[in-house]
């Protein structure tokens, strides 16, 4: 230790750390701002040229011309720039320490919200791409995976709790097809090894949960004397049956999508968002009739067999068939340019600007059950905004400023290179370098390192 670091300094250091910890654990900050003269893309009420947006206490207070703010409010000149709602990613794995509890085909009791990592630099990089909210999801190893967490990208706060979007509905990850089949059937020799088995995991789990619910109801009515054994997994499944938790289901093939809708219909569950859903386009009328939504990649395909018969026109077909559709990232990389991913629906399917931008704003908000709070620029909504120097669907657009609850968390003109929050003074910088890792199927993190990347990953690791 540095000998000059004496006892007095130590005390000061402790006090300072304590103060920082207290400040950061307080409720998330809410700011005041006046954004002047931008082209405001409201999503719900058209595009308004040369318009101001007034933010008070973290909410959108007013949208209009020549707005005035109280003295001391920061004024942002957005002349010639484009103001849009903060981008929402309905499928990501950033900001969490663990992704897969891949130990059982049903792990409804676990929750990624208990392992939030405020130090994840990917959160800042997402902000730099205009993303203000993401849905940090459990992985796809299990047919019924863990619960997920909707987070606001308040990068810089150190309290994991402060990332959670208060009031956002609970969500849970389900998974169909290859991933649960490989992990449990092929990996451990237990059901499911086929898509038939996957169906039965849902049917037996929901049936057990119904019995569990009935036992508790009987007990509460006084019909039975002995309280049933408390079981968090069953509690969670019962909450799904009661519509208290939104299902977000990893899925690819049309047949398995239809299967899950049939199961849900039989158990009276109405709310579901299919994730990835590469073959959603094949059953778009069925999805629309069920009221299921879809969260898709713009153009990822052919990385595994179940996405071989894909089309980049998926989002356009789903949208034109009346399915509420979003474009997600599932990746540290794609999350940085979801505005570009959304624009691909204009090349592949000719969606108009409004339809394309809904895919990354209002529609993911609907899928996460937070559309009354975010997803459009409307009076009273959370002041989550991003300002671009050109139309956000242009390849040449660069996000300039990203705002969460009226606080600026990313400013391109004030962006230092090293944005890490946790720096180890002992670290050797040269070893913090990582060769490129081609990110596909991030839903399989933590399961095993080589099981699903197989021989190729092994080769690439030992090749050079």
């Amino acid at each position: 230790m540095d000998p000059t670091f004496n006892i007095m300094d130590k005390k000061l250091y402790l006090v300072a750390s304590l103060l920082i910890a207290m400040a950061s654990s307080a409720l998330a900050q809410q700011g005041n701002l006046l954004i002047k003269g931008g082209t405001v893309i409201t999503i719900t009420q058209g595009v308004k040229e040369n318009t101001d947006v007034l933010i008070m206490d973290g909410k959108i207070a007013e949208i209009g011309k020549d707005l005035k703010a109280t003295a001391g409010t920061r004024v942002i000149d957005a002349t010639g720039q484009f103001v849009m709602p903060g981008i929402i990613d309905a499928h990501s794995h950033i900001g969490i320490d663990a992704v897969n509890e891949g130990t059982h085909p049903v792990t409804a009791e676990v929750n990624v919200g208990e392992a939030i990592d405020p130090f994840d630099i990917a959160i800042y990089r997402a902000l730099a791409g205009g993303v203000t909210i993401s849905h940090a999801m459990h992985g796809s190893a299990n047919a019924i995976g863990g619960q997920c967490q909707t987070i606001k990208h308040r990068y810089g706060v150190l309290d994991p709790e402060a990332y959670k979007m208060q009031g956002a509905p609970r969500t849970i990850k389900f998974a169909l097809g290859e991933n649960p089949i490989r992990v449990h059937g092929e990996g451990q020799g237990i059901v499911p090894r086929t898509r038939m088995g996957v169906e039965q995991v849902f049917r037996s789990s929901f049936s057990e949960a119904k019995v569990y619910k009935k036992n508790w109801e009987d007990f509460r009515k006084g019909l039975t004397r002995l309280a049933p054994e408390y079981n968090l997994r069953m509690e969670t499944l019962a909450d799904i049956l009661d519509g208290k938790i939104l299902i977000h289901c990893h899925s690819y093939r049309a047949d398995e999508i239809l299967m899950l809708m049939n199961v849900l219909r039989d158990f009276g569950v109405k709310k579901i968002c299919f994730q990835h859903v590469n073959e959603g386009f094949k059953v778009a009328p069925e999805l629309a009739a069920f009221g299921a939504s879809a969260s898709v990649f713009a153009d990822w395909w052919a990385y595994k067999f179940e996405v071989y018969y894909s089309t980049a026109y998926n989002a356009a077909i789903l949208t034109k068939n009346g399915v509420v559709t979003s474009i997600n990232s599932d990746s540290d990389e794609l999350i940085r340019h979801l505005y570009h991913e959304a624009a691909k629906t204009q090349r592949y399917g000719g969606l108009n600007d409004d339809e394309a931008l809904r895919l990354i704003t209002l529609n993911p908000a609907i899928q996460l059950g937070i559309d009354h709070r975010v997803g459009s620029i409307e009076k009273g909504k959370d002041a989550d905004l991003v300002i671009f120097n050109a139309h956000p669907l242009s390849i040449y657009a660069i996000p300039q400023l990203t705002i969460v609850d009226g606080i600026v968390y990313f400013d391109r003109n004030n962006d230092k290179a090293d944005m890490r929050l946790e720096i180890d003074p002992e670290e050797k910088f040269d070893f913090k370098y990582y060769e490129r890792w081609k990110e596909k199927d991030n839903c399989m993190q933590d399961v095993t390192e080589t099981l699903f990347f197989g021989q190729q990953y092994h080769n690439s690791l030992h090749g050079h």
Partner: protein, 434 residues
């Protein structure tokens, strides 16, 4: 003349539609010219932008200019309000070498062995790969297919994206690929200690030099044997494949990304005197002046990538190409993709936005790649005497919403269908619907 009843016509049409709809892998036939593309905005890339016509005869661009005369046999395409660009060239792909990433038996880019430069990418290119029409209909007409994996994973080949045999697609360029020893972590799962990483790097570098010394010796022996009309004893295919590299008859593609490794690679190039092209070069911006001073050209990408170090500025991968270009490095942009090579123009578009500028960014995926391979006399721009690899679009091809309307490869008018468009046609309004 036999009367054809309307119902029969509709029955035939229905049959044809059913056929094309159920065969989502098949696309139509390409057509032969001469084609006269009239009244387009021509982005020549070599000589600026002009309004005029392009005449395609056989494989070649026969004429470019205003008001070209039409011949009787010409098929004329009115391009008023449209744009013509040279086809894009991607110098870093596994297109046609990989069908489904997670199924190893469909992947043909990584052979067993650390030193296997004799493995020919061209041999394993599947001309009927579903990914090829998906790629070329987006305006990419020529790609380098590269083996991946060990120290010398094989020989890359340049192909045009039309043809039914590898020989038909072959554009004539070959280069051995080398992965320069990396002193970085191989990914997030690489949990070797710092010490082990350092040791492994040094060991690999020592081994590389041994291989190279062998190759130099082999080339000398080979020359000596030839001068005495003798044959070398034994069969050493890997040494045979490195002969042209040692003799500087063929460039060596050196994959390297970490800044300190780039400097080591530049030293190694100087020492060995190889005709080198650096590929990857993710941290080129950190040592751009040194690359420029060495005069070594670069194929970089993907641009749409995360920074390599947690403390890097978030936009480092976006600005890398521009920073190298501004330092004086010749920079081409690649996708480093198999199934999504179609994103090449978007990689260039991001580089354009983050400092490269629109004109230079498009050059980096057309004329510069051609120059870099020594093939600019035949590829990379809209000029008389060049191979007719070009396309008609309704705007800037790097802009996301632009539609690529018609692609020509070696003068062939390419069907603009692929699995993705065919599935769209079939399922947009499904019948039966509900």
């Amino acid at each position: 003349m036999r009367k054809i009843y309307p119902y029969r016509i509709s029955a035939i049409i229905a049959l044809l539609l059913t056929f094309s709809a159920t065969q989502a892998q098949m696309v139509g036939k390409s057509e032969r010219g001469p084609f006269l593309l009239k009244n387009a905005t021509i982005h020549t890339i070599s000589k600026g932008v002009m309004t005029g016509d392009v005449l395609i005869k056989d494989d070649m661009i026969a004429e470019v200019g205003p008001n070209l005369a039409s011949g009787r046999s010409y098929t004329t395409l009115d391009c008023t309000g449209k744009h013509i660009y040279p086809g894009m060239i991607d110098l870093g792909t596994q297109l046609g070498l990989s069908e489904i990433e997670s199924i190893s038996v469909t992947n043909d880019f990584s052979e067993i062995g650390d030193v296997v430069p004799q493995m020919q990418a061209l041999t394993a290119v599947n001309p009927n790969a579903v990914t090829i029409p998906v790629t070329r209909t987006n305006g990419i007409t020529t790609v380098l297919v590269s083996p991946k994996g060990g120290r010398f994973p094989g020989t890359a080949a340049l192909i045009d994206l039309h043809g039914y045999t590898p020989a038909q697609m072959d554009a004539g360029f070959r280069a051995v690929v080398m992965n320069f020893p990396s002193s970085g972590r191989r990914g997030r799962f690489d949990r070797r200690t710092d010490e082990d990483i350092k040791k492994d790097g040094e060991k690999a570098f020592k081994k590389l030099n041994e291989i190279w010394d062998d190759a130099v010796l082999y080339a000398k022996l080979d020359s000596a044997a030839q001068s005495q009309k003798a044959t070398l004893p034994g069969y050493q295919p890997e040494m045979e494949a490195l002969k042209a590299v040692v003799r500087k008859q063929q460039p060596l593609l050196i994959e390297v990304s970490k800044s300190t490794d780039i400097i080591l690679a530049l030293d190694w190039i100087k020492k060995t005197g190889v005709k080198a092209i650096l590929t990857g070069v993710a941290e080129g911006y950190r040592v751009a002046d040194k690359i420029a001073a060495a005069g070594i050209p670069v194929i970089t990408g993907p641009v749409l990538d995360t920074p390599r170090r947690p403390y890097d500025k978030y936009d480092a991968p976006y600005t890398n190409a521009a920073q190298m270009m501004k330092a004086g490095v010749v920079v081409a942009i690649r996708s480093d993709e198999a199934e999504n090579v179609r994103n090449l123009p978007f990689n260039a578009g991001f580089a354009a936005a983050y400092g490269m500028g629109i004109d230079e960014a498009y050059k980096a995926i057309s004329l510069v790649p051609a120059q870099l391979l020594g093939m600019a006399d035949r590829y990379g721009s809209i000029d008389v005497g060049k191979v007719a690899n070009l396309f008609i679009s309704n705007g800037d091809p790097m802009e996301t919403k632009t539609t690529i309307e018609q692609v020509f490869i070696r003068g062939w008018k390419i069907p603009m269908e692929n699995r993705h468009t065919l599935l769209y046609d079939e399922f947009l309004q499904r019948s039966p619907g509900k």
